[in-house]
Symmetry: C2
Subunit: 372 residues, 2 copies
């Protein structure tokens, strides 16, 4: 299988915010485009909970990435101009060190011996990678969803490390609705008898718990409005239905089942638990005595673009407005873009043209072109 990943050795030991440290840990990352001589054209992307570093196709791996239509030569994030980096999140399972990696101290998998992970640790690992690539200052730090929280953790901890920021469908702190959803996803995994306090294996795998967690995720990532138009009350053909009692009957149910099927074995359940909890823990207010607005205003950027979607129930538009206001108070010229894309939280993966326009506008402004 083609693989474009490179591996960056994190400083060792790599200490975590809440205690504990990793020895010999690595981050998997991919790049697109060329770093210019002034090292001034770097764009770093922090991802949501589950994506890999493969944000787009490249020479070594021509398979489409998770933001394929956004990144590439002549695309919204134009790799003819920008040197783009995307890392797999620390604690994930797509090449970076996480709970499914081997603990060099024991020779066993970390599982729940992995230290308590926070998004600050995710941010700090990414910062180490950026510095390791010889980049003093990013042209732009982009964060989507959980990656948007990681980006705020990056900015609040590393003043002056970034000229501009694109914040997409995220939160300055986890709110109770999102915590409730994530807590329930974790509970579904933890209650699966195969989870065994993290000691599952391929033969005894928390399939049911992961399936429920993923389906609940998909329900909150999209929107009721989109589904009325897309699925309405269309039923499966009788040939597609299973015989068991209360089996799925509507297309919407089989859509969720398909999402779960593709996800369950491709993402490590312990990684899921760690990253999910890290999202609940995130609160930028901690950096200003509990005051979110003040913590955001302490971030000083040249420019920022904050994009949100009115149909997003997980990261509501009010939280995007909060980020935009805070960064503006901190001195950034802020482009706040409220979209009414029907696809809910996932819109940034689907409604590429509208997100792309806003992203491209910010990037263009960095090259002396005005924000239109």
């Amino acid at each position: 299988m083609p693989d474009a990943r490179r591996y960056f050795d994190l400083p060792s030991p790599f200490a975590f915010k809440r205690g504990g440290a990793l020895v010999g840990a690595t981050l998997a990352y991919e790049t697109w485009g060329t770093l210019d001589d002034a090292r001034g054209n770097a764009v770093f992307i922090l991802t949501g909970l589950s994506p890999s570093a493969h944000a787009a196709s490249n020479a070594e791996d021509p398979s489409p990435g998770w933001w394929e239509d956004m990144i590439g030569p002549g695309k919204y994030i134009d790799t003819n101009r920008w040197f783009v980096i995307c890392a797999n999140t620390l604690g994930s399972c797509k090449g970076s060190t996480g709970p499914a990696s081997t603990n060099p101290a024991t020779g066993e998998l970390y599982r729940l011996d992995f230290p308590d992970l926070t998004l600050e640790d995710v941010a700090n690992a990414s910062f180490a990678l950026v510095r390791g690539l010889g980049i003093e200052r990013l042209a732009c730090l982009i964060g989507n969803s959980m990656g948007g929280m990681s980006a705020l953790a990056y900015l609040v901890q590393h003043a002056g490390s970034t000229r501009s920021h694109i914040s997409i469908s995220t939160a300055p702190q986890a709110q109770p609705f999102a915590i409730a959803i994530r807590s329930l996803q974790r509970e579904a995994i933890r209650l699966d008898p195969n989870w065994k306090l993290g000691h599952y294996d391929d033969a005894h795998y928390p399939e049911a718990g992961m399936s429920i967690a993923r389906k609940l995720g998909v329900i909150t990532y999209r929107s009721a409005m989109e589904w009325v138009g897309r699925f309405a009350r269309i039923r499966l053909d009788s040939g597609e239905r299973e015989e068991e009692p209360f089996a799925v009957e509507f297309q919407i149910e089989s859509y969720l089942a398909g999402h779960a099927r593709r996800f369950v074995r491709s993402f490590d359940p312990n990684s899921y638990l760690y990253l999910s909890r890290a999202s609940d823990w995130f609160d930028i207010g901690e950096y200003a005595g509990g005051n979110v607005a003040r913590a955001l205003a302490a971030i000083h950027l040249e420019r920022a673009c904050v994009i949100g979607v009115s149909t997003d129930i997980l990261f509501p538009l009010t939280q995007q407005q909060q980020i935009a206001d805070g960064l503006r108070t901190g001195g950034a010229e802020v482009d706040f873009v409220a979209l009414d894309s029907p696809q809910g939280h996932d819109s940034f993966l689907v409604d590429i043209s509208r997100f792309g326009e806003a992203v491209a506008r910010l990037l263009a402004s960095l090259q002396g072109m005005p924000i239109k």
Copy 2:
């Protein structure tokens, strides 16, 4: 324990819409107030998925009911004027015949041998009870949540049976977002190893599945906005926390846990599955070649009051508007009440004063007082 329930013997056999029939089935119900000589002051309440017939305290059972502040002498539904009836839903487990009842043909519990239940069956059982009480025509039929769908099933099947209707936070057809949520709740129960295709017992009970189902229910019954104000990011005291990995930490999580704890053993899991699926199946459009508006317009009422809440994600306001428009086209004088209560779908149980005013206004208009 005080008990105000009476039991009505349904016609036997009682045939179901999708086939099958019950022999010797009963509905548990309670009443408040006195039926007048003309039998013209009857108000019937169809409930949501889980409530019992005990909507309010009465002489035989002084414990508070689930709509205690709404029903009683001098209250919004004034039992000095109205004869109020509330039945436990057919298929439920609070006294009416359901999957947890004994099948007289076998002497065993029905479990999954209970016939496929629809809300039309729920409606028809309620209609039989109303007729059995000697009432030709209800003054008002009230339906909340799932009960609102049952009420539409009642009205569409029994023309002329009701003068007026109060429709609260419900749907003329199940939409894909609500189907997705309910399907996932059912899956959590079905995947619980203790469910055993319905053959659980008290010692081996699908506790985990029911807990997930209930928590997901509560998440969709309330609103993100309410929880920001109510729980924010408040954490439990360390003494309240469990030691296990990924244990609950935030108040919102313990709030959900409390709801689950109170529900899990008090509601029959098979009943839950049957009623949940019946909700997915409901589509009033079936009565007019798939056209919801036309099906609603075929219902002829004197008056209707349709109440919905902008923060309800399970039964969105657009669906309440659809019901109001349809009933108006059918000739009813309709009072459409869109509230911005913060408590989401559950507002009708919490924001009693605003719901009560609308309910009282409709009832007053039946006695010749105008809808204000």
